[in-house]
Amino acid sequence: MNAKALISDLQDYYLLSIQGILGALQRPFYGKDVIEQMDYAGAGSFFIIVLVSLFVGMALSLQLAAELSVLGLKMYTGKVVGISIIREIGPVAAALVFTGRVGSGMASELGSMVLGHQVDTLRVFGVDPVKKLVTPRMLSAFLMLPALTLIGDAASLLGGYYIAVFVSHQSGYVYWSSVREVLIFENVFSGSVKPFIFGFLISSISCYMGLSTKGGAIGLRSSTTRAVVASIIMIIVADFLLTRILLYVLGFSV
């Protein structure tokens, strides 16, 4: 891809995101579509997020308990698991699962609507496709991903608890009280800002890739792939940048 095409792509993406956001502020509103998308993206992803988070929490707890018990610091398991889940791994894991399940779905659905002239039909009927298709998806991701992250965090901590108590034979009380110790404003705040940003990134990137689909089934394949790859890269990069910014803003020294 040459530089000129890349810049014009970025410009189109930027415009689409702005229009998508503005669509939420101006009439007409498509409330029914928002609810439908929230149901698909949120309720539909519930079990897979819980499952993935549970195992991430267990693996993390197992690994840390093993390492810390060598140093004789087993009682810190809850604290380290809590911090890493709430600030880093929870939001990122939920966002990655969300990309795989919802982002790819958005891109392929919009892509096949473009190819089947359904988007053109909307324009013919005088309906703004950005408002009708993009805004509800962005809103639903923006609202549902934080909720899913919260649920995922809880599942991970539960998984961590299971390992700490039943495998590593620690006291459950110590685990929970050290988890509660890390539930301070700074940590919870950093952990809950991220999913909003990730939700916005995933939905806007996926919608953009979907709407720019051309060229039949092959085109659909590549736009879905590009949506997932670009979302994953942006999540990881944004996570790093956010961590950096939040540490700075909240006054931690590294």
Binding site: M113, G116, H117, Q118, D120, T121, R123, V124, F125, G126, V127, D128
Partner: protein, 249 residues
């Protein structure tokens, strides 16, 4: 009503339409003929303002639409009703919701009235029994007819645009669609039908344009078409001769 003035259009620097000029009055019944990939669908999209030409002007009722914004184009689009090649029904909605789409979008009709109107429209195109099916459960012909019903619900158009309404259909279904097209244009409403089936075009249209190599190579009435000497048209017409010979036997 529609004027194309030296319109050029290309996809990714491949020139599809090289120099298209024609003008169409309200109430005319026109068939656009041409091979696959000659740019027939592209012309319909240009008329609707869905894509913009590289150069040249497109006038709809005297207004140049090539530099209008999406919001300004709404009124222009309301003058037409277009049925796309694939029908383009929204595949997340069932037949009833597809047809009701514009009613819900633009009117505050109560539910019973919408239901009534949808049934009436489906009756016009004779697919009333499919009201609760999803688009993927429809046959090609039903799909096309539901799409026509949906476009009728949208507006009270001055002109109909049909993109290959009969392709991929058996002769009986194709004939039904032709009759429907003629029916809908009874009260002086014109249409443009895009097709590569000369047989169907001759049945419905009075004026024929033949598109070849990015230009309009022929523009005339039935006689002009049947007596054209351009070799590409001859090939198209052979389908017609064959059908007629069959009839004579």
């Amino acid at each position: 009503m529609i004027v194309f003035d030296a319109v050029r259009f290309s996809y990714n620097s491949r020139e599809i339409l090289k120099d298209i000029s024609f003008s169409v009055g309200a109430g005319e019944r026109i068939a656009f003929l041409g091979g696959s990939g000659e740019g027939k669908t592209t012309i319909l999209k240009l008329i609707m303002g869905l894509i913009r030409p590289d150069s040249g002007r497109i006038l709809i009722d005297g207004e140049d639409i090539t530099c209008k914004t999406e919001a300004q184009l709404r009124d222009t689009r309301m003058k037409f009703s277009i049925v796309f090649q694939e029908g383009a029904l929204f595949d997340s909605l069932n037949v009833k919701e597809n047809v009701a789409f514009c009613l819900r979008e633009y009117t505050k009709m109560p539910e019973e009235q919408i239901e009534e109107k949808v049934k009436e429209l489906l009756r016009t195109v004779d697919v009333e029994r499919a009201i609760d099916l999803m688009p993927e459960e429809l046959s090609g012909g039903m799909h096309r007819r539901v799409a026509i019903a949906r476009s009728l619900a949208a507006t009270d158009p001055k002109m109909f645009l049909y993109d290959e309404p009969t392709s991929g259909l058996d002769p009986v279904n194709a004939d039904n669609i032709c009759k429907l097209i003629l029916d809908l244009s009874r009260n002086g409403k014109g249409f443009i039908i895009v097709t590569h089936k000369v047989f169907d075009a001759v049945k419905v249209a009075d004026r024929f344009m033949f598109l070849y190599d990015g230009r309009v190579r022929l523009d005339g009435n039935r006689e002009d078409l049947l007596h054209a000497t351009i070799p590409e048209i001859q090939i198209f017409l052979s389908e017609l001769r064959y059908t007629q010979e069959e009839k004579n036997v």
